[in-house]
Amino acid sequence: MSMTTSRDVTVYESPIEGSPSYGMMAEFDSAEELMAAAHKTHDAGYQKLDAYSPFPIEGLAEAIGFHKNRVSLVVLIGGMIGGISALALQYWVAVITYPTNVGGRPYFSWPSFIIITFELTILFGGLSAVIGMLGLNGLPMPYHPVFNVPAFAKATENKFFLVVFSSDPNYDAARTKAFLASLSPRMVAEVPS
């Protein structure tokens, strides 16, 4: 438990006393509790909230009102760019800029060009999937206020967290705290920004 103590220290020593809080955090023991809490919170009219779990939980995002992401769109565009540019390059090289008689095959021997077109489609698509995902998630982001809560270290192990952001119109430190406490969490803590 040396870990936690060390974290406590960091909390108290942090120079963010009295500064506007980032939000209110509740800790839960299981995915089911978190899910239920998320639903309740969302139903209670909170929009700006987020849930944290050590593994993906189906439906959780929907529960906090996050329904569709645009990763697939990014991938589609990336893949198309890859494929088209590959075919274009090959055509340009083989037919326009430097046509050569290779083994008596026509300059535009399209069957030979399929492979590279395919490979580049995959390459661009794949890369844009990763970059798109990270980008949309705003990663990399080494610092984030939620890390200031000592217990949050368990978010990557076995604990589940729900945060209502102070930017939420209905947010009021006291009331929100009370509301979260009503969801029978393990603890409720204010997240300093």
Partner: protein, 1043 residues
Amino acid sequence: MSIDENKTKAASAKGPDVCPTKRNQLDLATVKEQIADTTGPEYWRSLEELAGTEEFQEMMHREFPKGASEWLDDFSRRGFLKTMGASLALAGLTGCTRMPDTEIVPYVKQPENVIPGRPKFYATAFTLGGYASPILVESHMFRPTKVEGNPEHPASLGGTDIYAQASILDLYDPDRAKDITYLGDVRSWPAFMEAVKGPMSVETRMAGSGVRILTQGVTSPTLASQIKSYLDANPQAKWHVWEPVNRDNVYEGAKLAFGEAVETRYDFSKADVIVSLDADFLYAGFPGSTRYTRDFAARRNPDGNMNRLYVIESTPSSTGMKADHRWPMRAGEIEGYARTLAAGIGTGFAAGTAGFNNPAGGATKFDKTVATDLSGHRGSSIVIAGDHQPPSVHAIAHAMNQALGNVGQTVFYSEPVDANPVKRGESLNALVDDMRSGKVDLLLILGGNPAYDAPAELDFASALKSNAVETKVYLGTHRNETAELCQWHVPEAHYLESWSDARAYDGTATIIQPLIEPLYGGKTAHEIVTILAGQPGLTGHDLVQQYWQKQHTGADFDAFWRKSLHDGWIEGTQHAPKTVALKSASFSATQSMPASGFELNFRRDPSIYDGRFANNGWLQELPKPLTKLTWDNPIMIGPAMAERLKLNFKDVAELEFNGKKVKGAIWIQAGHPDNSITVFLGYGRTRAGRIGTDTGFDVYPLRTSQAPWFGDGAKLTAVGGIYQLASTQGYQTMETPVGERPLVMERSLEEYKKEPNFAKEEEPAKDLTLYKPQEFPYEKEAYSWGMAIDLNSCVGCNNCIVACQSENNIAVVGKEQTLKGRHMHWLRVDAYYNGPRDNPKGFFQPVPCMQCENAPCELVCPVQATIHSSEGLNDMVYNRCVGTRYCSNNCPYKVRRFNFLLFQDWETPQFKLMRNPDVTIRSRGVMEKCTYCVQRISEHRIDTETASVREGKEIRIGEELQTACQQSCPANAIVFGNLNDPNSQVNKWKALPRNYSMLAELNTRPRTTYLAEIRNPNPELQSGLQSKTEALVPEAELQAERT
């Protein structure tokens, strides 16, 4: 650098000095002069001092502009010194030659009629055993680079032989002797003359009784007259001649038949039926082979009046492989056979006894048929006997030709071409006796290598070693076995460095003119003899000119001289036919062979002849026509015998003959007579040079004057162990367990007449493709190159290989690499056997790049390093090649070659001079292959284009454009030309019914196609030869078992 420049004078082959020295100008040579006797640090200091002088800086500008510009700014003085050092190292080559200042003239002023980059051709002649092969030599800026046949000379008609082709490499052989030496110490030419003057004056007083001159076969009229005049002056002096591969039997046979030694020459163009009694007249080394091949091949046209060739031979030869009927027979039995044959055509001979290899039935039938065939062609047939058959066989052959009325029609007799046709064996024997008995005081050995190749029983080496002979002078190009045993060794000038003359097989004389100043100040036999004759200072040029001046009767000698030089032969020197009468019809038979026991045959090596070419890398690596062996000589035996003795390829065996033993590796040769062994001369040299020393095994110790060519009672025993033999062809039959492969197409004449198109394989239709066919430029261009090879004419003489190697700067890789399968020949000649292994049919197939239309190699090259040119060539772009070797894997014909290691010699300066400047030197990691001699194509294109501009009308490249292989082919078997020109020869050939492309079913659409082989067997003998193939042990699989 400096070398070629230094050589300009003589090389321009025209008397006057092309560029006189300028006083205030230095050149490397002079620099070396000035620093000649300084060494070590001092050496550099003297350089520095020199560097100060103005002339020096000026010279720097001339010699190496780059170095000079560096030189001018002080910073990179060190860098300059490096350059200087390097170039001096290179110049070190000339450093070895001592040349009078007057002759070392840098090439500072452009002589007229020399266009840099445009080669010039000079006519001269290469000699082998005295017999001249007339040639034209290509000279790039006064550096001889390539040998080609002399189209105007009757003995060449444009063809050459492998030895002439490869001789260019001998000129630049870095192992050549570079100094006159006395007991190994360097001496000067004057010193040498001083040294011999003493003994000479003594000798002249005693009418030269102690003087012996030993030469090789001499046909040079000039040299002969020189020696003769000396002998006239000194009647006691003697002139001996020795050639290990000699024609004693020919002259002896003539003596036997006609009572006088006459030269026999043949006209194969008129012969319908040819019977060869062990004569390999289609391979280099047989005097006149080049011309004979041309005439013979011309008569192989199945659409014309095709000749028929019967070969009875004791060792499978390329001639035998071309035969319509071949009969393997032990050499000793051929006489018996000849008598039977002679009896058959009514010469009043008693039929010979049937021998071991011709069991009653077949043989006699064979004899009869051949006899009737001959008798049916009186006046249009030839019976020719091999040089290694005893005189009696030659005599019988003469008798037959007489009886058949061939004399004057197809067979001609004339004066011996040899200037001194003494019997070699006896001549040398006499010399050795004199040497041992101390009669010899001064021995001049002019060329040759008797210490290595003299008959064993004479033990010439020890005789030469002994102090019985006072002064021993050896004139030779290399410090070889003989040179080691003589006190004096005078480096001999290569024939491309010297003035001389020689006669071809028909007596036609050629003036041998130099193309380059002796690289190492070599001397010629002429110059040595001048010392004897007490007329030193006379140059070869003077001597030859004087001689012909005497001969020349007409006016204006100068014109005659120039014409002779230009044409490469002297009008009216051909020996006139001479009528000789047959003495008697019965010749004492040489004792006939016992019908059992092994016969041992000695043969000249197909590649290195009698050993004189042992240090020639091109010839060493030249696959021998039948075995495709390189770098070694095997003990050759027939398959049946191998089976009985349980011997296999590469087994080490001990060969015992006349009580002497040698060890060698076994090679099982299809078609080799049973109970007979063949070994090849010329290997096992101990002092040949970096290339030739310790290759193969020496069989001269077994060879005696009694049995110079064959003898009976040899023993062959396996001693265990394997000796790797490097054969370039893995598999010598087209048969596979699943059927014969359509590589060489062959039919008999009748079958061909019935079905002329037999060779055509159906090629997939052009539109059977995934793509819509594309039009490529070469379909519209002026030129589209193609080649056709007539398998019927090809006699497997290997000329094309050497010519290609010389023309295209192809590297020699050595035995180890050849064993690994990494030889570099762009053009190979495949040899296949088909039919019963004891007497198979043989096929030769030259395989250059096919320049496929749908080239599989191009498709797979990732970097487009090999693509099609606008004229349809399958170009190989060396600079672009990254060396994936994918193209070679995908080449069905396997004609691509790869530089697995750095095979080219980038250091040796001599080779830098030798190479063809028009062809890239390929480096490590690059693929290379036949380009249809694209450099020649470009040259002609440039010519015609400039001509077109000049004339104002379009001029096209015509038939004068020839690839190197085509140019050197004595058989005219290769035709190259423009497919877009309907009248081109190549189109005519491709239009012939027997034209086919190899592996057509692959749809590669080769531009190199073949004319199928047609044999003309005697219908009555057909049955005997048609039988199923028994494949020999495939070489490659054998290796697998062994390793």
